[in-house]
Subunit: 136 residues, 2 copies
C-alpha cells in the first residue's frame, strides 16, 4: 500500500492486492527492510527457537552492538514481528519472542539461511573466479 | 566457514556443516547480507522472472540510484547469485539474470515477500497501536 492510499483499518484482502515491495512507499517494503536489514534478519532468525533475553540474543548475534540490537528489536516490535515482555521474576527481566507473523517471517528466513549456509563452497568458488578475472 | 578455516576447493558437505550466519566472519553471513541488504533483496527478487536489462531493472526497483544498482549487481555477480551477459546485438546490450543458486535464493525471498505483502494491514495496525502506547 502506498502512503497516498486511504487508511485501512484491518488486514483485509484489499491490502494484499495493492501491496508491492517494489514501490518505495509501500508498508510491505518498509517491513521487508526491517526483517532483512543488517541486524533484522539475524534478530528474527535468532528468536526462532523461542523467547530469549536481550543479553543471550546479543551473544548469539556475533558483532551486534547493544545499541543496534535495541533499535532493531524496537523497530520489529513496532511492526508486529517481535513481542517484548517483562517477566515478574525477582529481579524482573525482559524477554523477546516472535508474534505469529514473526514466526511466519522467521520460517521463511530459516529456509533462506539453509540455502546460503549450504552454498558456502559455491559462493567462495565464485568469488575466487570473479577476482581472478578482475586481476587478469 | 570462517576466514580462519583452510581454503575449500568445492562445495562439499564440510562447508555446510561449519557454516553459521550468526558468526561474523562466515561467508554465509556475508552472502546473506548481500541478498538481504537494502537493494540486494529487491534486485534478486526483480530478476526472478528472467533476464533483464539494467534500465528495466532500475525502473522496476522504485528509488534505487544507478550507482547503487550497479554496485549491488556487481556484488551479487561476485557471490555467484547473478550472471552478467553481453548480448551481441546491434547495438550490443547487457543483460542480468540469476544463476541456479540465485534462483534458489529468489524463490525463498519470494516466499518471504508473499508473507509481508499479505500482512500489510496487520503491520500497520501494530504500528498504530505501538505509536498510541508511546504517545499515551
Amino acid at each position: 500500500m502506498t502512503t497516498d492510499a486511504p487508511p485501512v483499518e484491518d488486514g483485509g484482502p484489499t491490502d494484499a492486492m495493492v501491496a508491492d515491495v517494489f514501490q518505495r512507499d509501500c508498508t510491505s517494503r518498509h517491513v521487508l527492510a526491517a526483517v532483512t536489514g543488517r541486524w533484522g534478519v539475524l534478530t528474527v532468525a535468532g528468536l526462532r527457537d523461542g523467547a530469549v533475553r536481550f543479553n543471550a540474543l546479543r551473544r548469539r548475534i556475533d558483532g551486534v552492538s547493544e545499541k543496534m540490537l535495541a533499535q532493531t528489536l524496537q523497530a520489529l516490535e513496532r511492526d508486529g514481528i517481535v513481542v517484548r515482555e517483562v517477566r515478574a521474576t525477582i529481579p524482573p527481566h525482559v524477554e523477546y519472542s516472535l508474534t505469529d507473523l514473526g514466526r511466519r517471517v522467521a520460517d521463511r528466513l530459516a529456509d533462506l539461511i539453509d540455502v546460503l549456509e549450504g552454498a558456502v563452497g559455491e559462493v567462495e568458488a565464485s568469488q575466487r573466479a570473479y577476482d581472478a578475472r578482475r586481476d587478469a
